[in-house]
């Protein structure tokens, strides 16, 4: 722990109340249009974070609606039946009808047209949720807002670049949403060739792929910005190992973003080239290799799995420490595990192709994949060990942290039969995989994201939310999630392939249970939406430090002033020294220090 004595020329408490000339970052400047212009051209990382948050939540809604539609379509399998109908002239005729298709584009027996709508819906769901929701969720929304504040900085290192990242994100999303307006894409979010280069909807596919290409630049620039900010803008007194673990996680994430994203950019560009100029790269009909695309695609998309999950780890580390009021167990192990996962993440892409490649590569990738399990397991052990002899507040963020542990342990353990070669040959591309990655992507990342929104909500908007209803929403989400996705493990082992618009009758009961689960999930999210709206409209004013946190964002006002801090903060204690210092702006009696106090440490 670094301790620095405060220079004499600064007031004892830099936020003691002398400097109230500066308003909160949310204070409107001028009239309606002036405010709109201000938000569109702002270089304030907090406003950009809020805009990302709103955009991500809106797209989460869009992707969620398409998921609900996908689950509804699977309520009943598609069947063609012969039925006798009475014609107008009194004679009988046999007519073939199609049943079980919720979404149909025409009359008659054409199964393909109905399936095509289903295929567009799951592609939409996958593309939106990965490229536009999960990847930017925690880093771009919460990261943008809190990375500079937690480092004690006024802003990120390159504020204008940050604004550019935001607008690139908007343009990329407009491209992708534009392809939906043109009728959507049926390639699946993975764009596997040669299907993606030969399917109809020329412009739709180009726009969607182009959108993903553009979104990549936003990701790279944000990552670059974060790396430089972490290196150069830490407050005086904050060494590398005084950084909150959320920052470590974002730092590891940013490294992956900068190194891996260019590969998907090039790959998608090659895909566009093949489609537009008929250059044979991936399509065997033109002399290309379709498996090459899979290698390129997963060389990015596997590391990106860790772009999605690492920030979630960071959020959970913060939440467990703050709400258990306890020093994190194994701080350095947690920090190095983040970097270790980031490094190994580049070496495991081949495990998406155990059924499509040679034996030797499959064996190597299987072995490397198991390596990822080790640092990941260490993280879980550290979080749980932190709870020992702690003081656990039960509120929405902590409840969500427990749900995170529950779901992430399941998500991690079900990764083992997928990493293991003999079992993956059966489970690959089945509902088992679908269930597994939803436990990791949604059950872990999205849960951590929503937990983080609750945790930092008072700081971002200056208002408290209703704790009771927050916990009701969290529990509905948790129950709904498990009903929806735990059933899918059984569907997978019993032989249900993924991306099927229909299925054999035997699977119907499990599909219906899963669909009912998706309704509970929706209800949970609606409760959250109302809790947030209620808080914005009539929530009680938030104190600067409602949870008793020790990281720097709790030292400034809620919501923070435009330049975050009145004076550059000086770091006098580590981020989790709950057993050494009283949290700022809190009643010391409420957060006493355990006896006996450690000798020699000042606070």
């Amino acid at each position: 722990m670094t301790t620095i004595d405060r220079p004499n020329d600064l007031p004892a408490d830099p936020h003691g109340g002398d400097h109230h000339d500066e308003g909160s970052y949310l204070t409107p400047k001028g009239g309606f249009w002036a405010v709109i212009w201000d938000w569109c051209t702002t270089v304030d990382h907090k406003k950009l974070g809020i805009m990302y948050l709103v955009a991500v939540l809106f797209l989460f809604f869009l992707g969620g609606i398409s998921a609900m539609a996908v689950r509804l379509e699977l309520w009943e399998p598609v069947r063609t039946l012969d039925q006798v109908v009475l014609l107008e002239d009194g004679t009988e005729a046999t007519e073939t009808i199609t049943t079980g298709q919720l979404f149909k584009s025409g009359e008659g027996t054409d199964i393909a047209a109905g399936n095509n709508i289903y295929n567009r819906l799951f592609t939409l769901h996958g593309a939106i949720m990965t490229f536009m929701v999960i990847i930017p969720s925690i880093p771009a929304a919460l990261g943008n807002f809190f990375l500079p504040i937690m480092l004690g900085a006024k802003d990120v290192a390159f504020p204008r670049l940050n604004l550019m990242s935001w607008w690139i994100y908007v343009i990329g999303s407009v491209f992708a949403v534009g392809s939906i307006l043109l009728g959507g894409v049926d390639t699946g979010w993975t764009f596997y060739t040669p299907y993606s280069t030969t399917t109809d909807g020329y412009w739709n596919v180009l726009l969607m792929v182009g959108g993903a290409f553009i979104l990549g630049f936003s990701s790279i620039l944000t990552g670059l910005n974060f790396i430089v900010t972490v290196h150069k803008l830490r407050a005086p007194g904050m060494g590398w190992f005084d950084m909150p673990l959320f920052i470590w996680a974002l730092y590891a994430t940013a490294i992956i973003q900068v190194l891996a994203t260019p590969v998907i950019g090039i790959t998608l560009l090659l895909l566009i080239f093949e489609r537009v100029f008929n250059v044979g790269i991936f399509d065997p009909a033109m002399g290309g290799d379709p498996v090459l695309f899979q290698h390129f695609f997963w060389f990015y998309s596997h590391p990106v799995v860790y772009v999605m999950i690492l920030p979630g780890f960071g959020v959970i580390s913060e939440l467990i420490a703050v709400h258990a009021h306890k020093r994190l167990f194994g701080y350095r192990a947690l920090a190095f595990a983040s970097l270790g996962i980031a490094a190994v993440s580049f070496l495991v892409w081949g495990h998406h192709m155990f059924t499509s490649q040679g034996e030797v590569t499959a064996v190597i990738f299987s072995a490397l994949t198991f390596l990822v399990a080790i640092p990941t397991a260490i993280k879980v052990f550290n979080w749980i060990a932190t709870l020992y002899k702690s003081s656990i507040s039960i509120n929405t963020p902590m409840l969500y942290s427990y749900y995170f542990l529950f779901l992430f342990i399941i998500g991690g353990l079900t990764g083992l039969p997928l990493a293991s070669l003999a079992t993956d040959l059966h489970l690959h591309d089945s509902y088992f995989v679908v269930a597994h990655f939803h436990y990791v992507m949604m059950g872990s990342t999205i849960i951590a994201f929503i937990a983080g929104i609750h945790h930092w909500w008072p700081k971002m908007f200056g208002r408290m939310y209703n704790e009771r209803w927050g916990m009701v929403g969290a529990t509905l989400v948790f129950v709904g999630f498990n009903v929806t996705f735990f059933t899918q493990f059984f569907l997978g082992t019993r032989g249900m392939p993924r991306r099927y618009a229909s299925y054999v009758d035997e699977f119907q009961l499990l599909h219906q249970i899963s669909t009912v689960g998706s309704w509970i999930l929706l209800l949970g999210f609606l409760v959250h939406l109302f809790v947030f709206l209620h808080s914005l409209i009539s929530g009680p004013k938030a104190p600067p430090n409602p949870w008793g946190g020790l990281t720097l964002e709790w030292e400034t006002e809620s919501p923070p002033i435009e330049h975050n801090f009145h004076h550059e903060p000086l770091v006098k204690h580590g981020p989790y020294d709950f057993d050494e210092v009283h949290p700022p702006h809190c009643d010391p009696a409420e957060y006493p220090i355990p006896e006996p106090a450690l000798g020699g440490k000042s606070h």
Partner: protein
């Protein structure tokens, strides 16, 4: 070197495998025992991982929940002081999972190599996948003429016959996009690529029917790309190799054509009714005039149907796109004739001969006599066709 490693056998592995790979918990996850000698390794490993997962999950969440109750926050009471790291503990929880992971890897690797190394002395069957159908050609050039009796999914699907307890290698390739050949009861799938072979090996241990699914997303009717793999006694297989399960020469041409329209994948785009799909429905087309996208028109006669099958892009029916794969070189002359007969049978201008078993009845009229007027109303004909098809060998669909 990779091959030699497969001989490593974890102690008592087979015993563990057999104990885990059956019983209540196994039946919760799997519909049945694997019908593949190496499937037992996969199932045993899966169930081992399940119990390993249960133990870790209960241990970790149990501790977390116990501490949640024991250490819940009381106002004004701080967290107790405890060590923030403990080197022996941290080394232990790094090394122990690593050792477990090594065991899992070796077990999975061993099972994988068993799945991949074919037993010698079996049959090689070629498989061609296309959107959205499987097509198997047996060593003597025979193809399956069998369809399921009941619907498998939305429709009747092809049945492929293999002998029990015989090693079979499927040499697979695709005519269009990537597919993946999956028999869940064998616990193995393998991707099927255009312009490349992949070899799927299995030895079915018991007689019975098994689902074949496509596991790699391949477009609109991906979920309809199912079939049945029927495992039979060697004697039945020998008979199958002679007649493909059903001798087309002994059934009416229209019925043979209907089976082909399903096994060759025509039904994916062409309905047997007048309903429009990706392509026109077939009912009531034969003998009637049709307009093309280029503005010309023509009577749909046998020549037109033949042209539409072999070189479909020559004339595109008004209101449709140029979407069909040319079947030139794919179908034999006999198969084309059967398909023409089936399409004819769906029109009230059908020649009578298409409903009759060759050699029986008065089959005077040849295939080309499209102008002949038949005085049977089309409903009766359609029912006749349905009845004869109902006599097709019964296929018990697993779990259907």
């Amino acid at each position: 070197m990779a091959i030699n490693l497969t001989t490593i056998s974890a102690p008592a592995l087979s015993g563990v495998t057999n104990t885990l790979g059956e019983g209540f918990w196994h039946n919760l996850f799997f519909r049945d025992n694997p019908n593949h000698p190496d499937g037992f390794i996969a199932d045993g490993l899966f169930m081992f991982l399940w119990w390993l997962g249960v133990v870790w999950f209960v241990l970790l969440m149990g501790l977390a929940t116990y501490w949640l109750i024991k250490y819940r926050r009381r106002p004004g009471v701080p967290a107790q002081r405890s060590a923030s790291h403990n080197t022996p503990l941290e080394i232990a929880w790094t090394v122990i999972p690593t050792l477990i992971l090594v065991v899992i890897f070796v077990w999975g690797f061993r099972g994988y190599m068993r799945f991949h190394i074919a037993e010698s002395g079996g049959e090689e069957i070629t498989l061609v996948a296309n959107m959205w159908n499987w097509d198997l050609t047996y060593p003597n050039g025979q193809k399956s003429n069998l369809l399921t009796e009941e619907d498998l999914g939305a429709d009747k699907r092809p049945v492929f016959v293999v002998p029990v307890d015989t090693p079979i290698s499927l040499r697979m390739t695709s005519q269009d996009v990537i597919h993946s050949f999956w028999v869940p009861d064998f616990r193995v799938k393998l991707d099927v690529f255009p312009n490349r072979y992949s070899t799927y090996w299995f030895r079915a241990t018991e007689v019975g029917d098994h689902w074949i699914f496509c596991a790699e997303y391949c477009g609109d009717q991906h979920s309809e790309m199912a079939a049945i793999l029927r495992v039979v006694e060697p004697a039945d297989y020998a008979q199958f190799l002679v007649d493909g399960g059903q001798d087309f020469a002994t059934i009416p041409p229209a019925q043979a054509g209907q089976i082909l329209s399903s096994s060759k994948g025509c039904v994916a785009c062409h309905a047997s009714t007048e309903a429009a799909g990706t392509g026109p429905g077939w009912a009531g087309t034969y003998g009637y005039e049709v307009r093309f996208t280029d503005g010309t028109s023509q009577i749909r006669d046998a020549n037109y149907i033949r042209e539409s099958i072999l070189t479909p892009s020559v004339h595109i029916v008004e209101g449709y796109g140029n979407n069909m794969t040319p079947y030139a070189g794919v179908l034999t002359e006999d198969e084309i004739n059967y398909l023409i007969a089936y399409i004819q049978s769906l029109s009230d201008k059908a020649p009578k001969s298409v409903f009759e078993v060759p050699g029986e009845g008065d089959g005077e009229s040849g295939e080309g006599s499209e102008t002949e007027d038949v005085e049977v109303d089309d409903m009766t004909q359609a029912e006749t066709a349905e009845d004869t098809i109902a006599q097709t060998e019964t296929a018990e669909i697993p779990g259907g």
